[in-house]
Amino acid sequence: MTGRLIAGARRRPAGFAVLLVIVLIVVNTIVQPAFASWNQVAPTLGTMAPFAIAGMASTPAFLSGGGGIDLSVAPLIGFINILLVTKLFGTPFGSPFLAVPILLAVGAAIGAINGVMVARLRIPPVIATLGTYFVLSGVDLDLVPNPVTASPNWTDHLAGSIGPVPGALVTIGVPLALWYVLRRSAFVESLLAVGDHDATAFSAGMNVNAVRISAYALGGLIAAIGGIALTGLVQSADSQTFGNYLLVALAAVALGGANLTGGRGGLFPSVMGAASIFLLENLLTSLHTSAYFIQVAYGAVLFVAVLFGARLFRQESTA
């Protein structure tokens, strides 16, 4: 029985996180009935969106294997947020039709720089992205030493509603849709193959470097969407807020059940991972738990999740 459960979970590693999300939604609703009311859904999703997107943005780097990790996601989200608020709003480039492509290009370019450092220059991913982390946080701090409030703008809807649709469904949905399309192409297949065993993928004729660079670029692109979602939520530019997303993003991927050494996982599991962290935090806050205990619970969940994941993948990793 247990064996079948484990086998089932192995096929669907996100199962644990999905289950956790369902349980937490139910418990949140019991503790705080207003949680489930329709007019609460959009703001709740809007608050969750940057977490979920940060989780998704960190995922491709992990999947690409070779010790892949992207520590620069959080400051990149901050950088996009700052760029949008202080440089684009109030100029002709501030309209969504110009701002969004510009920001996505910037995000993807910075991601690609990480990718080039990892794949071409062969700098270990932790160090390459740590370097980018420092540079970006420095630039963030330089651009806005003090928080700047945004003038009224279109991103407002993204944290609230666009007509009857919660705006967060768009910001979370776009990366998911993109991933869905990429899964129909050879990209995701190649990414997982490279992440599983790069030397084998190379022997099979895959362009390992191109796949890795694209993976980091994709992460940067998703982080840019996160920056836009964050702007919608906070309506200001601040060089400190992104710090909240650094650890959560990594935890979300681990909790989602992705294999952190590459080769297995997707964006949806990371959204579920981020959602469970967000819901747990929400629950503990509505129970008036002290902020310190929330941090303890958060660490404990991460700890358990990573052990749970290890149990799932043990046989495969030694095979």
Partner: protein
């Protein structure tokens, strides 16, 4: 000296001892150092020191130089564990949580009139337990040390802040601790800050342990190839547990020493050490892959980072520029030293 102690790049076959017996036999100690030693780091320290001394008026005085050395000592001691953990192929992100936690709890307990000796034993004991949990979990369940230490770090931060009511601590620490961490402290009558002398002694002791004793050998063997080490009879789990325990205790010691330096406990005092302890190790040229590098390199790394900060602050550069240069520096040094193998060489 065998290959495991020198940071030999595996991609260059000429670096393997025995492969080219003629040139290897004639190689002098100086040439060895130029090829494998931390030459770039040493030059950087000297250049940064001269640059700081020449361009910042008032730096080249005993008090300023000592103050810089004291700051480097904190970083250097915090990076002891990080060095050892990285040498076996791990990474420890719980360092800042342990520094801040030890800092708070130490002040808190002295405020509650615990004897200070007991406070130290208690704090370091707790830290050792955290390190034990880190090392054991990572090794037993083969999970990424990055995530595990992140998780235990969050737990430690939450618990210590909760216990000390959000870090509102006040307590009197003994005078000897204050003068131990102070730039104007004296070491048995000699006019050098005791913490700097201690750091120097630790560096020498650690170098001897790493390079000349059996435990040091086992550590490098574990980092180079865990499976091979295991088959050769090294109990690698013990090595992992010990490395993380040392890392935690070293971090907690910095937390206690910082109480002496600032005179009180402060929440978040360890935060800057999250990445700077890592940066000191990496800028020193120790490789994240494991088994390449040693603590003397970290000493140089800590000096480079501290001098750079002093230089930048002296020229009125803000925190922003400091971080940017930190990032560039890490990429620069690692780009020269700790690069991975090509995929095509691993087929």
């Amino acid at each position: 000296m065998s290959a495991s102690t020198s940071p030999t790049p595996p991609s260059s076959p000429s670096a393997v001892p025995g492969a080219l017996p003629d040139s290897a036999a004639h190689e002098t100690a100086l040439r060895r150092f130029v090829r494998f030693g931390p030459l770039l780091q040493l030059v950087s320290v000297v250049v940064l020191f001269l640059l700081t001394a020449l361009t910042i008026t008032g730096f080249f005085t005993k008090s300023s130089v000592y103050a810089t050395l004291v700051l480097a000592s904190f970083l250097g001691i915090a990076a002891i564990g990080q060095t050892i953990v990285i040498l076996i192929g791990g990474i420890d992100l719980s360092v800042p949580a342990l520094i801040s936690g030890a800092n708070l709890v130490c002040t808190f307990l002295s405020g509650h009139h615990w004897p200070f000796g007991l406070v130290i034993v208690f704090v370091l004991g707790c830290a050792a337990i955290v390190g034990f949990v880190n090392g054991y979990t990572v090794h037993r369940f083969s999970v990424p040390p990055l995530i595990v230490t992140l998780a235990t770090g969050a737990v430690v931060t939450g618990l210590t802040l909760g216990w000390t009511k959000g870090g509102q601590v006040s307590g009197q620490v003994p005078n000897w601790l204050t003068s131990f961490s102070s730039p104007i402290g004296r070491f048995f009558g000699i006019d050098i800050p005791p913490i700097v002398v201690t750091w120097g002694l630790i560096a020498i002791a650690l170098s001897i342990v790493l390079h000349m004793t059996a435990p040091g050998r086992r550590l490098y063997a574990t980092g180079a190839n865990e499976r091979a080490a295991q088959l050769a009879g090294v109990r690698t789990r013990r090595i992992w547990v010990a490395a993380f325990a040392i890392s935690a205790v070293a971090a907690a010691s910095v937390g206690i020493l910082l109480v002496g330096f600032t005179g009180t406990g402060e929440a978040g005092v360890g935060d800057p050490y999250l990445f700077t302890s890592l940066a000191a190790v990496l800028v020193g040229g120790t490789s994240l892959v494991g088994a390449r590098g040693d603590y003397s390199r970290t000493v140089l790394g800590a000096l480079i980072l501290t001098l750079l900060t002093t230089l930048l602050v002296g020229h009125g550069a803000g925190e922003a520029l400091q971080e940017i240069l930190f990032g560039v520096l890490i990429l620069l040094f690692v780009g020269v030293y700790g690069r991975d193998q090509r995929v095509r060489d691993r087929v």
